[in-house]
Structure formats: structure tokens, C-alpha cells
């Protein structure tokens, strides 16, 4: 067997592990193994590549440069991935995705510079240009998504007059450039395309804010996959085509599933600048004069001690306050008193779908106590207390009743079905979507103001003594 055939066989093995890995990642039991399988496949592909010959039949040049770049990458990536807080997970995925897109664009550019003296066929140039365009959009778009989630800039949508039109012009400009480069084979224009793609990525992401950013990251993830597939065409690598296309195709489907979980369409997520209009006044008084009812943590503790069934509805605020562990203790304490406790997890609770499950799992909340939307809503009908901690938009009844509400149609957890609603809140500030929550004014609802961790600690003390 020739050297190249052996390497191609190893690549085939890697491509197979990637498919198996994606399959595994779809089931809770096999997910971790799936990830491990892909990592092994990746390692095999990387090691095999060291033995590959270049197009002109030499062993790879610059092996030490390759090793050096890899070493620097590992030294940065491992500690970052290992020690960043779980709450910062979404922006971490964004940045790792962005550099992947950047790498795909760089590979396409470098290959173009390398082969341009041989006057490549038009379709080769087209592959290069698509790789550069998509990869760069993913790179700069992910950078802005990172900045938004890391709160280096405002997380809300940034809009200006004529934005859609300007973005359309950018997109059209990129298309015209591609056609021009194809007909002139000008490498100077390639750099113009690179710059334009960079701006396009930023302009595309600016009007997307708040809870929509994770959906955006999923889309950019798919983009990077497509850019990798384009590089695969240019380099003539089946492995890159398979891996890139897998991620691209499944990523676009995943993105649609995520927007559906919020009751919205993908185009609505991408183009509606959702959450830019803050309609909530945040002063705790409705126009009709109704006000909120607030209570102390001790009131809440007593109320829960006498309940027979408590449903806890956690949101991102819980993670921000680092209150998962206290909450778990409270749940254990209540259970020890013979009170039934469930956690109702909204599909988009947290900053990403499934994010809340990860955060609660970290705090050792047993998997069986976590309930998804539909189960939770049937449990709530017979619950004495619904305890809302750090959630807001996911329990907002406006999604059901108010046709004019921007979140109308999003499935919510019906906290108002419970006998009593305890709403832990730091202030009257509205949630991620920036809209007023009618639940706060419901006569069943008692608000307990303060830091979630603090409040829960006090509630826990009351329950223990009661």
C-alpha cells in the first residue's frame, strides 16, 4: 500500500469518527463518548498529516513552525477551556468558532497565493473566494458575538437607519467582487474581498442581541463548517469536505431547532433586531395603578415549608448570582421534609439551550428532578409554590396573551398555574428581551427583592428552623 493510500485510509477513519461523534452527541448517555471518539479521530488525522507529501512530492516543509504554532495554540486553548466559568461557556464557544472560521479563510487565501501563478481553473478560484468570504464573516461575526456576551459592548441590538439596506449593499458588493475576481483573476481584489467580508460579518451581527446571540453563534458555527468544506474543495481533501459539510448541514438544522424552541423563525431571529425596544418602565407600577406585592425571604421560607409540592424555575440570573449550590441545598432540605421538589427547565433558560441543565448538573442537582417544559407545565397545575429564581422572559404570560408582545408565541413555563408564585428578583429591571412581565403584578405573586444567593440562603435558614 502506498503512503498516500494509507494516509487517505486514516482520513476515512477520521471522517467516520466525526459522523459517529455527532450521532453520539444526540443522546445524553453517549454524548461524552461521542466527543471522545471525534477527538481520537482528529488526533489520527493530524498525526497522519505530518507524513503527507506536498503537491510537488516533497515531505512537508516547516515542520518545526507547524509544531511551534500548535504548541502555542495548545498552551492558550487548554487553560482557557478548562478554567473559564461555566456561565461564560457561550462566549467561549463563540471565540473558538471564530478562530476556526479565521483559519478556514487563511487556508483559502494561502492556497490562492500559492497556486495563482499556475492560473487555476475558475471553479478553483470560486472555491477560494467562498472560503474567504464565509470564513471571514464567521470570524468577525463571532468576535462581535463574543464581545456582546462578555459585555465588552452592549448586549442589546445595535440599530441605525438604513441598516438593512446597507447590509444588503455589503452583501451585493461581495457578490460583485467575487464575479470581478473570477473574470480578472486579480489577487489585489482578493484583499478587498477579505476586508469587505470582515465588515459584513460585523454589520450582520450588530442588530442581533440578547437571547438571540446563542442562535447566532450556532449559525456562525455552521458557516465555519461551510468555509471548511470550501477549503476542502480547494485543497482536494475529502476529509475537510466531509467534516465541514457535516457541521454546516447539521449546524443549520440545529440553528432552526433553536429558534423554534423560542417560538420564532430563523429570519425573525436574524433580521428583526429583537429586544431593541425596551417597553418596560421598571418602576413597579402599571398604568392602571396596580402595584407589585413584595415580601421577605422569611415569608418565602415559611410559605415553602408548608407546601407539599414546589416547582423551582431557574433562569440565567441564578447563574450570575452563583446561587446554584444554595438552591440545591434548599431543594434537598425541602425534600428531607417530605416536600416534592422539581426543577422546571425552559429550553432556552440560561444563555443557550441546555445551558441551565449544565449549570444545575454542576451543582449536583439530580437529573431526575429536572423537567422539560411540557412535563413542568402539567406538574405546575398541582404545585403549591412556583419559585422563580433569576428567570423572567421564560415565565412571562405575555407570550400567551399579548399578541403585540415581541415574545408572543414563545412557549413559556406557566408559573401562574401554581397556587403561589415566589419571584426572586434583584430589581424591577426587565429581562433579556426588555419587556414588562405581567406575572409580577399577578395577585398570586410575591416578590422577594435582593441578590438571589443572599435571599436563598435566608430562605434556607428559615426552612431549616421551621
Amino acid at each position: 500500500m502506498s503512503r498516500e493510500t494509507l494516509i487517505d485510509l486514516l482520513y476515512l477513519f477520521s471522517a467516520t469518527t466525526f459522523i459517529l461523534a455527532l450521532k453520539g452527541l444526540g443522546s445524553p448517555k453517549r454524548a461524552r463518548m461521542g466527543n471522545g471518539v471525534a477527538a481520537v479521530g482528529m488526533l489520527v488525522a493530524i498525526v497522519a498529516t505530518f507524513f503527507k507529501y506536498t503537491a510537488d512530492g516533497h515531505p512537508l516543509h516547516h515542520v518545526w513552525l507547524i509544531v511551534l504554532a500548535m504548541a502555542i495554540g495548545v498552551l492558550i486553548a487548554v487553560p482557557t477551556a478548562r478554567f473559564v466559568k461555566m456561565t461564560a461557556m457561550p462566549q467561549l464557544v463563540a471565540i473558538f468558532n471564530g478562530v476556526g472560521g479565521g483559519a478556514a479563510a487563511l487556508v483559502s487565501i494561502t492556497e490562492f497565493v500559492h497556486i495563482k501563478s499556475t492560473h487555476p481553473a475558475t471553479y478553483v478560484t470560486l472555491e477560494v473566494l467562498l472560503g474567504v468570504l464565509i470564513g471571514t464573516v464567521s470570524f468577525s461575526g463571532s468576535a462581535i458575538a463574543f464581545a456582546k456576551l462578555q459585555e465588552l459592548m452592549t448586549g442589546r441590538p445595535i440599530t441605525y437607519p438604513g441598516q438593512q439596506i446597507l447590509n444588503g449593499v455589503f452583501g451585493l458588493g461581495a457578490l460583485v467582487l467575487i464575479v470581478t475576481i473570477l473574470s480578472t483573476n486579480s489577487s489585489a481584489l482578493l484583499w478587498v474581498l477579505l476586508a469587505l467580508a470582515f465588515v459584513l460579518g460585523i454589520a450582520f451581527v450588530l442588530p442581533i442581541g440578547g437571547a438571540d446571540v446563542p442562535v447566532l453563534i450556532s449559525l456562525l458555527n455552521a458557516f465555519t463548517g461551510l468555509a471548511v468544506a470550501a477549503s476542502g474543495f480547494t485543497l482536494g481533501s475529502n476529509l475537510l469536505i466531509v467534516a465541514g459539510t457535516l457541521v454546516g448541514a447539521s449546524g443549520i438544522l440545529l440553528t432552526r431547532m433553536m429558534s423554534k424552541a423560542m417560538g420564532r423563525s430563523l429570519s425573525n431571529v436574524l433580521f428583526s433586531a429583537f429586544g431593541s425596544n425596551i417597553t418596560a418602565t421598571g418602576d413597579g407600577v402599571r398604568e392602571d395603578g396596580r402595584t407589585v406585592r413584595s415580601g421577605s425571604p422569611e415569608d418565602a421560607g415559611v410559605l415553602m415549608s408548608f407546601a407539599s409540592r414546589v416547582v423551582i424555575i431557574p433562569g440565567y440570573g441564578l447563574a450570575v448570582a452563583q446561587a446554584q449550590h444554595v438552591l440545591r441545598e434548599l431543594a434537598e432540605e425541602l425534600e428531607a421534609k417530605g416536600i416534592e421538589v422539581f426543577f422546571a427547565i425552559h429550553p432556552v433558560a440560561g444563555r443557550m439551550p441546555g445551558h441551565m441543565n449544565v449549570l444545575l448538573a454542576e451543582a449536583n442537582v439530580p437529573y431526575e428532578q429536572l423537567q422539560e417544559l411540557d412535563e413542568a407545565n402539567s406538574e405546575l397545575q398541582t404545585a403549591d409554590v412556583a419559585l422563580v429564581v433569576g428567570a423572567n422572559d421564560t415565565v412571562n404570560p405575555a407570550a400567551k396573551d399579548d399578541k403585540n408582545s415581541p415574545i408572543y408565541g414563545m412557549p413559556i413555563i406557566n408559573a401562574d398555574l401554581a397556587e403561589n408564585v415566589l419571584f426572586l428578583k434583584r430589581s424591577m429591571r426587565p429581562g433579556f428581551a426588555g419587556i414588562e412581565n405581567e406575572l409580577l403584578y399577578n395577585p398570586k405573586t410575591m416578590l422577594i427583592f435582593g441578590d438571589a444567593k443572599d435571599t436563598l440562603t435566608k430562605i434556607l435558614a428559615t426552612v431549616k428552623n421551621g
Binding site: Y11, F18, L22, K23, L25, G26, S27, P28, A31, R32, G34, A38, M42, I46, T49, K52, D56, L60, H62, L65, A69, M70, V74, I76, A81, M86, P90, V93, F96, G100, G102, A103, L106, V107, T110, E111, V113, H114, T224, G225, G232, S237, N238, I241, G244, T245, V247, G248, A249, S250, L253, L254, G354, N357, V358, A361, N364, V365, P366, L370
Partner: protein, 106 residues
């Protein structure tokens, strides 16, 4: 040339269907790990990056190729480690919870 392109196009088409089929029934709690895992998989661009740096002739190609390898390594390594960290919690849960209460009891 035409044949090679056609062969790649075939692979592309088939893979699109595999990609869609394979994740069609994923529960929403696994959306984030799935996104993160597929994020690591497109880090396979590292293989392409190694090839372009390995065939670089000019300084420009070397610089671009070096950056590509560095970026792609961040993507691969960071992607797999983060995903594993997320999934570690899904799995270790029941045992860890029992152990922790035992420790507290002692």
C-alpha cells in the same frame, strides 16, 4: 479534472443528508453540547492549515499559514476540551451527588 470535482460534489451531497439525518431527533438539553462538539469537529481545518504551511514558499505564505495553524489549533483543542467539560457534568451526576451527601453526613 471534471471527474474529481464531480467526486467531491458527490461527497458533499451525501454528507449534507447525513448531517441533517443524524441530528434530527436531538433533545433540546443537548443543543449546547452538540453545537460545541460540532464546533470542535470543524477544527479539522487544522489538517488543511498544516498542508498550506507545509507547502509555503514565500514569507507571506509562511505568515498566513502559521496563523492558520495557530487559529485551527485553538479551535480543535479548545472545542474538544470545552465540550468534554460540559458533558462531564451530565454523566458524573448521580454518583457525585451521592458521594457529596455522604461526605457531608460524615
Amino acid at each position: 479534472m471534471g471527474n474529481v470535482l464531480l467526486q467531491y460534489a458527490t461527497v458533499l451531497m451525501l454528507t449534507i443528508f447525513v448531517g441533517i439525518e443524524i441530528i434530527a431527533k436531538v433533545p433540546s438539553i443537548l443543543h449546547t453540547p452538540l453545537m460545541s462538539g460540532s464546533n470542535a469537529i470543524h477544527g479539522v481545518i487544522l489538517v488543511g492549515s498544516m498542508l498550506v504551511l507545509g507547502s509555503a514558499n514565500t514569507n507571506l505564505e509562511e505568515i498566513l499559514g502559521f496563523l492558520a495553524v495557530l487559529f485551527a489549533t485553538l479551535n480543535v483543542v479548545g472545542g474538544f476540551v470545552v465540550t468534554d467539560r460540559m458533558l462531564e457534568m451530565f454523566k458524573a451526576k448521580p454518583k457525585a451527588a451521592v458521594k457529596k451527601t455522604d461526605e457531608v453526613a460524615q
